[in-house]
Amino acid sequence: MLRIRPAALGAVLALCAAPAPAQEPPPDPLNSGMWPLVAEENFPGEIVFDPRVKLSLPAAAEDQFHVPVTIDARELAAEIGPIAEMVVAADLNPIIHAVTFRPGAKAEPFLGLRIKVEQTTPVRVGVRGADGIWRVAAAVIDAAGGGCSAPAAAHGQKDWMSTLGEARALAGRDEAGETRISLRMRHPMDTGFAAGIPIFHLSELTLTLDSGEELAELEISAPISEDPAFNLLARPTAGGATAAVAGRDSEGNRFAFSVPLPEEAVN
């Protein structure tokens, strides 16, 4: 477990990224005491809450290990131009950051994912365009669970090591002629907070078209659900194109597989 204090973290940041001027984030509509810290760590720089950033999540978590989240900045992109990155974070998770999604020129700023939540928490998505401003949407997920619920599946199956990185995928054209890509990989996504199980998670995924154009890049943290699954939306591609997926996990294991993209509309 990394134990970097905020002060030390600031120093690391100063080396890694252009330092943003320190400024107070705008007041949090959800009144979370964590907001200043979440903002500083995940959305460094100027922040505005913006209704053009769409964040979908249920009001209550049916399964705290699999909370569905969809982030969508297409409406925003239509007005401000290309989106550089989209960051999902949950204030009251022990590990706040869930994913950083960087859509390439051929991908829409749109992602479906699933996260784990430790308790009732604000969930946020910050979207950064060319102007560097973070445009943020937020909502609370109630993690009290539903009735008639089963407990979440046990973390890690008996034979999980033999299927680590095993991939499933499907791509098809939707009504708008865009390509929907669904990915699913086997990975336990251990957070390191369960007794005796060290942190171990998929940490990086890139999707590249065979034309060489980068489709998307994802930086993935442990709060992404076990057996991570993502839904992406790609702009129309040439018939018969392939998306090469490359992944890496926190132990340095590498994964690579290829997803054929559709030639014809599937609907």
Partner: protein, 333 residues
């Protein structure tokens, strides 16, 4: 380097303390606090005669809530020549006690000879504690599921129902059923193990009245729940129930059903659910998009249809992805 990944637990704990100290945190934690201070209440149970010497205590056609105390499932009791047979015991110790008191009032001096648990879900069996330990019985698989999941299920029930749950301790039956036909107190019952709503669903048929207690394999006028569902197995069980000789049927949720409408309605819902969720995966929709699917007009009268549909997306998605997405071999590295 990913700066966002570098949150230490220490930073998190510090932040949580900041949250508690923040005056503005009320908006976030207020509703939770309000819930914990709900006033204690008591169940007002009513027995409705549904067949000869057979009564049902109907559950509300709702979700578990503090308004209904979790009393959403049907419980039933049958008078035999020598005593009483009970089918399911409700969501809490307090409910179980109210049910036992109602039985004592309705059938004074009659001993409780047998309590069947139809499946392990807490809205059906968390009242077990109020009944004689030696009378409790269920198939071995139901007992095992209750035992394995009781802690998690109880935590969830306490969180949702608060004070209604006071003193409730999950009490799995000590007696595993293995006979398919049993005479209890001079009345004969046929016992059939099915599955699909859960990994083991007990169906009890009263040979005297021809009334079939279907547990949660059948729902009527309320959307079925799927946290442990296996849809193909559930469909097969509905077909078996349809073939079963019966004069009437009591669903786990909903009114007594002489015509078998609950079997049609449950099958119709499961078919629609299965098709809709599969199509969402095949089309590459996100789970949130899948949850927004319109619910057909024919289900408009079903209680909690939208809520149960959204819950089912969470329950069934992963299995459907495993089935529908193509397995992709790894590239050579």
């Amino acid at each position: 380097m990913n700066r966002m990944k570098r949150m230490s637990r220490r930073a998190w704990l510090g932040g949580a303390a900041a949250l508690a100290a923040s005056a503005g945190a009320g908006a976030l934690i207020g509703p939770i606090r309000a819930q914990t201070h709900a006033a204690p209440r008591s169940y007002r149970l009513e027995a409705v005669e549904i067949a000869a010497r057979t009564w049902c205590v109907y559950g509300a056609q709702e979700d578990l809530s503090r308004a209904n105390g979790g009393a959403i499932a049907n419980a039933a009791f049958i008078q035999t020549p020598d005593g009483v047979v009970v089918v399911d015991t409700g969501p809490s110790k307090r409910y179980g006690e109210a049910l036992a008191a109602l039985i004592a009032e309705q059938l004074p001096g009659k001993r409780i000879l047998r309590v069947f648990n139809t499946h392990h879900h807490p809205d059906h069996v968390f009242g077990n504690q109020a009944f004689p330990r030696e009378a409790l019985a269920a198939p071995q698989a139901v007992i095992e599921a209750m035992t394995a999941q009781s802690e998690a299920l109880a935590a969830n029930m306490y969180r949702i129902l608060g004070d209604w749950m006071r003193g409730t301790v999950p009490t799995p039956p000590g007696r595993a059923l293995n006979a398919s036909r049993e005479e209890i107190g001079g009345r004969v019952f046929t016992l059939t193990e099915m599955k699909g709503h859960t990994a083991c669903d007990l169906v009890v048929r009263d040979e005297e009245t021809g009334l079939v207690f279907a547990g949660d394999l059948a729902f009527l006028d309320r959307a079925p729940t799927t946290p442990n569902a296996d849809l193909p197995a559930w469909r097969a069980s509905l077909a078996a129930l349809r073939r079963m000789e019966r004069d009437s049927l009591l669903p786990g949720h909903g009114p007594v059903d002489p015509q078998g409408a609950s079997l049609d309605q449950t099958l119709d819902w499961l078919d629609w659910l299965d098709g809709t969720l599969r199509e969402a995966v095949a089309r590459g929709l996100t789970m949130n998009e899948a949850m927004a699917a319109p619910i057909p007009a024919r289900f408009a009268a079903l209680g909690v249809a939208r809520t149960e549909f959204e819950r089912s997306v969470v329950h069934l998605r992963a299995r459907m992805e495993e089935e529908i997405l193509n397995g992709i071999p790894p590239d050579r590295l």
